[in-house]
Every structure is written in C-alpha cells, then in structure tokens.
Amino acid sequence: MLYTISLIIPLAWGMLSSVKDSWEFDDSSIAFPKIILFENYKVAIQAFSTKVDSLTGPKTISFFQMITNTLLYAFGSAFMVTLIPCLTSYIVAKFKFRVLRIYYIIVVVTMALPIVGNLPSSLQIAKLLGLYDNIWGLWLMKGYFIGMYFLVFYASFKTIPDSFSEAAQIDGASNFAILTRIILPLIKTTFSTIMLIQFIGFWNDYLTPRVFMPSVPTLAVGLFKFSFSSSDSYSSPPIQLAGCMLLLLPILLIYIVLQEKLIGNITMGGIKE
C-alpha cells in the first residue's frame, strides 16, 4: 500500500504542477493550481528544440522531428530485437541439425557472461562500418539473437506440435510458407507483446541514442538536454514537468489500454533452470 501511494502521489503531483504558473509554483509547490496553464506544454514543446552538429552542418531539430525520430528508432529497433531472436529460435527449435545447438549454447553463455565497458569498442566499430549517427545503423546493431527473449520464443516454438508443419509439407508447402502462414500466426500474441515491451523500452531510452546518433535526437534525448537547460524560461519546474509529461503520457495511455497484455507476459511462470 505504501509503495503504491509513493508511486501515485509524485506522479499526480507532477501532473498537477505541470499546469501551474511558475510564480504560483515558486510561491507554493504543495497547493493545487489556481489556474490551469496548458501554455506550459506549448513552451515545453519549444524547449525540446535542440541544435545538433550533422554532416551537413549545424541544424535545429524540433519537437515534432524528435517524435518522428523516436517512432522510427523505437519501432524499428523493437521490430529487429523481436524478429531476429524469433526467427533464430524457430530454426533452433524446429530443425534437427546438431550444429544448431551452438546457437542455444551461445544464448545461455552470453547471458551468464557479464561484459563490462565495451562501449568504446562498440562506438569505434559503429563508426568504422558507417552505422554511427543514423537510425538504420542502430536498427542493424539491435538485430541480435542473444538475450532472454530467444529463450521465450524457443519455449513457445517447442510447444507447437511438429505435425502442423509436417502436414503442410505433405501438401507441398515450402519452409518459408510454413513459417509465415502457420508458425508465425500461432505465436503472434507472444511476438506482439514482446515487441510492445521493447517499443516502450526504446521509446524511453536516451543513453543509446545520445551516444550512437547524436545528430538524430529522440524525445528522450531532447528531454535530457531540456532538463539541464540553463534558460530562465525553460528551467522553471512546471515547464520541465510539462516536458516530462509529453514523454510519459503516450506510454501511460498505451499501458492503460494494454496493461493485461504487458503484465501477463512478464508474469508468465517466472524463470526456471
């Protein structure tokens, strides 16, 4: 109960303070707003604008461009980070070649091996391969099969009887047709839930885009820069809280609508050896 209250109160306070006048907030941060000022959100949208150095010279990225960058980054990365382990685990789970076991072993070993501080090396390789400072570069870098979701998909594919694909093969279906018309539709719920969780994670991520695509800022990067703004009009708490809400509210809406799907995925059976 205490924990729930500790979550609700700051969020509610943040929302109420985001529509307060700056003078009113300075006067009292406790009191309810006397006037509701949605003007703060307009100012916050302007404050998100950030100057970046790109190959074509310095340019200003607006809030709406950041939304586009965020949607592209979050959707593309979520798709890659879901699709690649899905396809890899399907091959490992359903095809009987011994060499495929290596992929499963790689997943388990890499999950157990903590590698610290390879960011400088990642940056160097990204720059070398021309993947630095663009969104599609990050998509390619996110297309890894290792991680927990390989095991989630693997378990899902193992529960699908082989008779489904055998029956389709007898009817002359190719491997690709079996994958796209029979198997993927069977796991579409798992796929969409994982992709949704990943989308939310990438929407909120500012550490990776900040380092790997500095001239293609996302909303989260914009909020980060905005939160350390020294400008008088932008550093006012109600304006900054309005900026917070601009990043937070879309995800909160998704959560309210799809909470059962999200929570259901995370509570599926815990983790077993």
């Binding site: 390879n118 995370i266 815990g270 983790i271």
Partner: protein, 309 residues
C-alpha cells in the same frame, strides 16, 4: 518397381534436407554475421584496444600492458575510482539485503491474494514502463521543492532538498534506485510463485502450516531458481549500475556519488578517441572480476540453497 519407389523417396528426402539447409542458412545468415561483428568483434576489438595506445598523427600503436598498469594503478590510488568502487559495492549490498527481502515479502503477499492484489500488480509494473528520465525529473522536483516546503509547513524548519544536502543525497539516490526497480522484481517473483502447484500448498495448509512456514518451506525453495537468477543479475550489474546519476546530474554528478557504471558511461560518452584504449582496458579488468564472481555466486547458491525435491 520397389527399387524405383525407394530411390524416389531417398531423392525426395535428400532434396528436402537440401531445402532445409538452404532455408536455415538463409534465416541464420544475418543473426550470425551480426553476432560475429557486434558481440565477438566488439569484445575482441575491446581486448585489442586494451593493448594499444593512440597518438594524434600516428594513430594506434601497440603498448603492451601499459594500459593495464595505468588502470590498476588508478583503481588503487585515484580517490575517484576508490569512491566509485565503494559506492558500486554498497549499492549492491543494499539492493541485495533490503531490496530483495522486501520484494520477496511483497510478492508473497500478492501470491497469497491479499486485498487489492490486482490493483497492486498494475501499479507495480508502472515504474518499469515510465521513462526513468521522466521519473528522475519528477523525483528531483518532489524531493527538491515539495519536501523542504512540507517540512517547513509542518515543523517550521528550513531544510535543503534531499538531493542537494550532502548528508541525504546518496541515501535519496539509493532509495530512488530501489524504488524504481521494486515493482518489476515483485512482479517477476509473484509470477514465479503463481507457477507453484496449488496442491503442494494445500497439503501444507492441511498440515497446519502458517503463512511464514509456507513461505520458508514450500514457496521459497520452489522459486529458488528465479531468486538465483536475480542474485546473479545483481552481481553482473555491480559495475554497470549508474544509480541513475546521469539522469539526475548529467555529466555533473559530485565525485562522492560516482559509481563504476556512471564513471564508465560518462567518460566514454565524452571521450576523445585517445581515451578509448584506457576505457576498454578498464572494462576488461572489471569483466575479469565480475565473470568469476557471477559463477562463484551461482555455484554457492546452488550448493547451499534449498533443494527442490
């Protein structure tokens, strides 16, 4: 006739095998190449960088173990790194002792389906879907502006914000780290508990076991693999956990608050190419510590933990 049929079948099977191989290779080509470049290649490059130094004009040259000597010297002699190490380890200890204990108790509460458990589930998941940056901003203003005002209203005392005062800022950051991660930990533990066979718990109830006895003798042993995984993950995070310092302070956190994770991220994001070898070496040395530590902790837990009979 039979020979022709068998010959056709063999040819069909061979063709099928070839098709399967082509299909598997087609699907696995990209993930394999990606893994080779961005996992094996990156980590191998990290290892190579550790043995190099960079000079403007000459580029990378081999420097042997010079970087290792420099990093080891700095770890034991630089105040900043000693503090970072200490903060990383104390954060781990507090997360383990307080965070894990509270998470287990709270998740057991949800598992026992006490009042409002459905509502709690929804609320517990909330911090993991809201941007940590947004949460840090709200928390920053909450403890920086609302808290001092509330204290003044109630007690008349003028106090600084929790994140500004030297005495309270570290505790406030640790509290925030625990607070943000609490929900998802509870949810995963309660998910593991919901996988326990109902009849096992029923037998315990019939035998007169109370809630505490059920937890100690039935529930905890059965969710021990999940518990082990979390403990191992926490060991892994000792050197990567930033304690949200970058969200709160950007590059300007006070030195007394540094963790190894914050130090590495901050230095790398601001680093010129000349610093990459030093930072890569530091990462490798910390990996050499965390890899065996992870296996030792896992083995100890498996050896001395409750057995699932």
């Amino acid at each position: 006739m039979i020979g022709t049929t068998i010959g056709k079948k063999t040819k069909t099977l061979r063709n099928k095998k070839i098709n399967d191989i082509i299909f598997c290779c087609g699907i696995l080509l990209y993930p394999t190449v990606q893994f080779c470049i961005f996992y094996l290649g990156v980590n191998f490059n990290s290892l190579l960088l550790a043995f190099k130094s960079y000079e403007y004009g000459t580029g990378y040259t081999w420097s042997g173990f010079a970087n290792f000597k420099a990093v080891i010297f700095d770890i034991f002699n630089t105040e900043l790194l000693k503090i970072s190490f200490k903060n990383s380890l104390s954060l781990y200890a507090i997360t383990l002792l307080i965070g894990t204990t509270l998470s287990l108790l709270f998740s057991y509460y949800i598992y026992e389906k006490q009042l409002f458990h459905g509502f709690y589930k929804v609320m517990l998941f909330l911090p993991s879907i809201i941007s940590s940056l947004a949460l840090t901003m709200i928390f920053r203003f909450f403890v920086g502006r609302l808290y001092p005002e509330l204290v003044k209203e109630i007690t008349g005392k003028v106090v600084p914000g929790l994140l500004t005062a030297v005495k309270t800022r570290k505790s406030a950051l640790i509290f925030f780290t625990l607070w943000v991660n609490f929900g998802i930990t509870v949810l995963i533990y309660s998910g593991a508990m919901s996988g326990i066979n109902e009849s096992v718990v029923e037998y315990a109830k019939i035998d007169g076991a109370n809630s505490f006895q059920k937890f100690i003798y039935i529930v905890f042993p059965l969710i021990f693999p999940t518990f082990t995984t979390f403990i191992v993950i926490q060991v892994v995070e000792v050197f990567t956990n930033q304690m949200h310092l970058f969200s709160f302070y950007g590059s300007g956190a006070n030195y007394s608050l540094y963790t190894i994770g914050y130090f590495l991220y901050k230095r790398t994001s601001e680093a010129a190419i000349i610093e990459y070898p030093y930072l890569a070496t530091m990462g490798i040395l910390f990996s050499f510590i965390s890899i065996p530590a992870t296996f030792i902790v896992k083995n100890l837990l498996e050896r001395f933990g409750p057995k699932d009979y």
